[in-house]
């Protein structure tokens, strides 16, 4: 990243030379960190060890100080650890969740291990208006509420709050919620496949209580997914509010320019 060749539009004005240099190095560290983090997450370092700082500096045509600052950014994210005498090693435990097809957690992570669900609560609740409208049931009628802490190979991944119409929910209550995706159970109960889901994704800071449940640091970034899932016949049957630990999940998909 040979900075002297880059036109810099924003450094004009009354900033001092030292402040400008610090900002430039921070910009370059982020630039390098983004390239390295992509390799970390996609298995670009097969033996789990990053090259030596000087080798990275040569490959990316940047200074050792910038390399150190970039590695610090990745360490702060929990993606690498720097071990004296060993170097920089990958410690990320981040799993890919498909964004292309509607899938349950156990389905999408099948090749990465076993998903288990701690059912924190499960039972009927009177549907508040926003739930009733979306599930197309009368306001105040009972729906099944399920709250699950979901783990992959024992590691907490997500906290899921789920609302299901009670005609399907009653059968769900007797099912093996600890070891089975709700998607699979809904398909088994109704005898028809799911159709589609409307989703909304956001990044939020975990509140203290959610962080405790997810065993994550307070304030840590959470990927929040709201999802309304419909059966193949169009009936909405599953409203979920899901908090994924940001350090454990990536979502990947493909977008097209024309539909």
């Amino acid at each position: 990243m040979p900075t002297e060749r880059i036109r810099d539009h924003a450094g004009q004005g009354a900033t001092t030379v030292a402040a400008r240099r610090r900002r430039l190095r921070a910009d370059q560290a982020r630039q390098l960190a983004d390239l390295l983090r992509q390799q970390v997450l996609t298995g670009g370092f097969p033996d789990g060890t990053l090259p030596h700082e000087t080798a990275i500096g040569a490959d990316y045509r940047t200074t050792r100080n910038t390399v150190r600052q970039a590695l610090d950014l990745l360490r702060a994210e929990g993606l690498v650890e720097r071990l004296p005498g060993v170097g920089t090693v990958v410690v990320a435990e981040k799993y890919p969740h498909g964004l292309d097809r509607l899938m349950g957690l156990a389905e999408t992570l099948r090749e990465h291990g076993r998903v288990s669900n701690e059912v924190r609560s499960a039972g009927p609740v009177a549907a508040p208006a926003p739930v009733a409208e979306r599930l197309r049931v009368p306001v105040g009628s009972d729906v099944l509420y399920i709250e699950r802490l979901r783990r992959l190979n024992g590691l907490p991944l997500s906290l899921d709050l789920t609302y299901i119409p009670l005609d399907l929910g009653t059968a769900l209550l007797g099912a093996d919620l600890e070891n089975t995706d709700v998607f699979r159970l809904l398909e088994a109960i109704t005898g028809q496949p799911l159709g589609h889901a409307e989703i909304t994704l956001e990044a939020v800071n975990a509140d203290a209580h959610s962080a405790t449940v997810l065993q994550a640091p307070r304030g840590s970034a959470v990927l929040m997914l709201e999802r309304l899932t419909h059966l193949a016949d169009g009936r909405p049957v599953d409203l979920e509010f899901i908090r994924f630990r940001g350090d454990r999940i990536t979502m990947s998909g493909l977008l097209r320019r024309s539909l």
Copy 2:
């Protein structure tokens, strides 16, 4: 949310009654907050004011303490403010970014206002291996690097780091990068539409420097998007690393069970 009817699986063991009650109230506050936040974000309170605490408590069959705790969660996220004598008002400035079609920022937010771009740097850099491989250019050959802080109606929305093959990049350098999406410019320069993009989404905590640039609190949640965009003929032409302020963007789309 009548708690006594909910089977509680996780509260067993040596927790005290008081601790169990606190946990239960925190669970219910999150449950309520998720329902209210969805309404806040989708314009469910047309006059921008939430009902009184007691009205919310009645609607959701929960206590006033739980309502207060839920509103505190929304306030901590910057979605509402609580004004003495007025009540709880919506202050969210969160805009929907489509996840269904490949669109530039100005295109997707067209109805919400004007997108402007502060070009922090723009110029050729020697392509490091991870950039060269993805853009299918020789390692070390020049590519155009652009760094932009993107604003909607003056509010910082995202920080975009962009790599473009130099044969297209040279024409881009002379274009109006301040006011035009790179997507539009690439289509104008190449005379063909874009085809598809591979995307990866993550939630991360903003490092100190990125937070400063985005004018967001240090550590605030960022929606990180990595995107490799191809022309209709399949050629990869645009590799981007985008940090969206978590409090300013939601991503919405539709998933199908079968492809």
